[in-house]
């Protein structure tokens, strides 16, 4: 049967079943005209010409091209926020395969997909932002700046993108009906997971370590030798929150793509993830305090930047952490979901602060974001969401492929239920 499927992969039946959601072509394409898709199309129609103009006229065509503030929205959003929020893959893979918490298996594939898509689009943002994007493979093959933290980031993002692709391969091969390849891909699971955790530990922290080289530019409240550790720990609760958010959105907007069994256990798993996020955020809060004490810049708290620091620390770390605890203690998954959104906003705020607002804080006149830059980011993010939805609609992500149903069932039975 398998060979039949792979032979007829480009046949009309196969395309209709696996690409057009089982509908005839005409019905499928008519069905694409929905309000959300129209909005997405408008955003893309505005943004794509801007992206093209960036390659014809240079970066100045879409950014404010500042020599003082060379990094802008593309990196603050695409790299410094995108990568920690895409830590979902390594966290859930470690949870299920390394720590043996198998009841979280239903959330593993969505997490790996979120991670893979997140990293892929981080690279897309780099391709827009780099002056010479066609030199992107140079640190791997041409010239090695081994003393640079950026060298580590480049290598690790490339390697981890490949690792996550391998981790997601079983889903792709199930979709394609390539049983032999699927078995081969499953065999490397543990190795890929461990490799993925190593890479993630290092490049999540390396994103923070990049700013160690700007001691006189980054505001002293945020500059700390602890930056790598802070970035790593916050990526963990960022990833856990993203798993919660992703499953919430899929259940809300694409309920048919989620197995009924997964629907039933989701609330219980959400509480479990909330517990993990609460613990990580508490750790992060403690580390932030240690970093503040070590920096010994208490006097700076009494300034505009200090006020923002306190808002970040209390409003975007302590309070969402408290919300997680509250949701878990009262067994209220909706509070945990709310806390997850809150925590993600807080993490993005932190990354924007470190990579944008608090950088070059001593310079008098600074522009942060131009309209065109924001439109390009909105465009790429829209495409990212569409790609994600496209995959979830077709591949076995939140559901099991009919042929592999029995193997996973026993995990679902063990899942905790909300009280």
């Amino acid at each position: 049967m398998n060979t039949h499927i792979s032979q007829s992969i480009m046949s009309r039946e196969w395309i209709q079943e696996n690409l057009l959601l089982g509908k005839p072509a005409r019905t499928y394409f008519r069905g694409l005209v929905t309000p959300l898709n129209v909005v997405a199309a408008i955003i893309i129609c505005v943004g794509l010409p801007l992206i093209v103009s960036r390659y014809i006229f240079g970066l100045a065509a879409v950014t404010h091209a500042s020599n003082n503030q060379p990094w802008g929205l593309f990196l603050s959003w695409g790299l410094f926020s995108g990568v920690p929020l895409a830590s979902t893959g390594f966290i859930m893979a470690a949870t299920v395969y390394l720590f043996g918490l198998r009841q979280y298996h239903p959330l593993l594939r969505p997490a790996v997909l979120t991670g893979f898509v997140g990293y892929f689009f981080a690279v897309v943002f780099l391709l827009v932002d780099l002056g010479r994007p066609w030199h992107l493979p140079y640190p791997m093959f041409v010239s090695f700046g081994t003393g640079s933290v950026m060298f580590l980031v480049a290598w690790h993002v490339a390697l981890y993108l490949s690792t996550q692709f391998v981790e997601f391969c079983p889903a792709i091969f199930e979709w394609l009906g390539a049983e032999r390849f699927r078995r081969w891909a499953v065999k490397v699971t543990i190795g890929a997971t461990i490799f993925g955790v190593i890479l993630s530990t290092l490049h999540q922290s390396a994103l923070g370590a990049l700013f160690l080289l700007a001691p006189a530019k980054l505001h002293p409240l945020w500059y700390s030798p602890y930056l790598p550790l802070l970035f790593f720990v916050s990526s963990i609760f960022g990833g856990l929150s993203m798993v919660i958010i992703e499953s919430t959105l899929i259940r809300r907007f694409l309920p048919g793509r989620m197995d009924p069994a997964n629907h039933r256990v989701l609330d219980g798993l959400t509480l479990g993830l909330g517990k993990g996020a609460a613990l990580t955020m508490l750790t992060y809060f403690g580390l932030k305090l240690i970093a503040l004490a070590h920096g010994n810049h208490w006097n700076l708290l009494n300034s505009g930047y200090g006020a923002w620091y306190l808002i970040e620390l209390i409003g975007f770390v302590a309070l969402p952490c408290f919300a997680f605890v509250l949701g878990v203690r009262r067994c209220r998954p909706e509070i945990v979901r709310f806390a997850a959104f809150w925590a993600v906003v807080g993490l993005v705020a932190n990354r924007f602060t470190v990579s944008m607002f608090a950088l070059n804080w001593q310079l008098p006149h600074r522009e942060f974001v131009s309209l065109k830059e924001a439109l390009v980011v909105a465009t790429i993010f829209t495409i990212e969401l569409l790609v994600y939805r496209w995959v979830v609609n077709r591949l076995p992500v939140h559901r099991e492929h009919t042929r592999y149903k029995s193997a996973r069932k026993r995990h679902l039975v063990q899942a905790p239920q909300p009280a």
């Binding site: 020599n67 543990i190 550790l229």
Partner: protein
């Protein structure tokens, strides 16, 4: 405070790996003292001599084939705003009011400082920026990605980018006229200076000259050679009769060479690669083999990991 920070790096702070293997990471990050190439050149600026004629700007543009100066040299309106270097201006002269009453304004020439251990070079992931043994920090555009991390790293806000160039954008900054120096000449700005405010020579000689100038004019100069120790030392050295903090010089950059700030973190990287597989593999084994499997289910249990996805 600086020594605390530096010490902190070497001991524990930068990665989870260092927390587990503090002592060995510390050993790896211990630094050999680099005192610089002995014959390297230097540039000494006596700010009290500069008259703000901006001929150095003009000479620099000619030497580097840059478009001519925007405002004529006798147009003093350029001094109304403090300028920075950009892709078409490798050096700029700014005017600062003299804090002492009835004293003439101070003109400060600004350009790449050509650090002894440059932050930009340690930031570059392809080694497009490098410190030459003659002294200049030079740039190879052919391998540059345009990530602009060098611009983030530079504590003096010097490197600029060709944002308007779509096909071959380059990081632009003073080259210290590397080609001229290799041919036995001197940088164009030092050569043109009509009042000899800029002195070109061996860096070690220039330090003695600067010290002598300060000593021989008691009470006139600030007792500080800017660039002698800043960020671990720079090729350009400045002496001044007005405090440097009043002249736009960053005074919070410390004396630690910037590569030091990331060395500790980079030392932790191989540690994570070696320790994590054992640690995580151990977690895996503990978590998945808590109890011996019953004999009749043996085959099922062993293949568990492979058959499930």
């Amino acid at each position: 405070m600086k020594s605390t920070r530096r010490h902190f790096f070497k001991t524990m702070a930068t990665g989870a790996g260092t927390m587990l293997l503090g002592p060995s990471a510390k050993a790896m990050s211990s630094v050999e003292q680099f005192n610089g190439y002995p014959e390297r050149v230097g540039m000494l600026v006596d700010l009290s001599l500069c008259i703000g004629c901006r001929r150095c700007e003009e000479a620099c543009k000619r030497a580097n084939q840059l478009p001519p100066v925007e405002a004529p040299l006798n147009d003093s309106s350029v001094f109304e705003h403090t300028r920075r270097t950009d892709a078409e201006n490798y050096t700029v002269v700014n005017r600062f009011a003299n804090p002492q009453p009835n004293q003439p304004a101070v003109y400060v020439k600004k350009q790449c400082m050509h650090c002894e251990e440059p932050a930009c070079a340690s930031a570059c992931l392809v080694g497009a920026l490098r410190k030459t043994k003659e002294g200049p920090v030079v740039y190879n555009p052919d391998i540059c990605l345009g990530c602009r991390y060098c611009m983030i790293a530079c504590p003096f806000y010097i490197p600029a980018y060709e944002y308007h160039n779509p096909t071959s954008p380059k990081v632009r900054k003073c080259t210290l006229c590397y080609e001229r120096i290799k041919a036995g000449g001197m940088p164009a700005c030092a050569e043109i200076c009509p009042v000899e405010a800029i002195t070109f020579g061996k860096r070690s000689d220039l330090i003695k000259l600067a010290q002598a100038q300060i000593l021989n004019n008691p009470g006139e100069y600030q007792n500080h050679i800017y660039g002698l120790d800043e960020v671990g030392g720079t090729t350009w050295l400045y002496i001044s009769k007005v405090p440097f903090a009043k002249l736009g010089f960053p005074t919070d950059v410390g004396t630690t060479p910037f590569p030091e700030y990331t060395r500790g973190f980079l030392s932790a990287v191989p540690v994570v690669f070696v320790v994590w597989p054992a640690l995580l593999g151990g977690f895996h084994l503990f978590a998945n083999n808590r109890q011996p499997a019953p004999a009749q289910e043996d085959g099922v249990t062993r293949n568990d990991e492979e058959t499930e996805q």
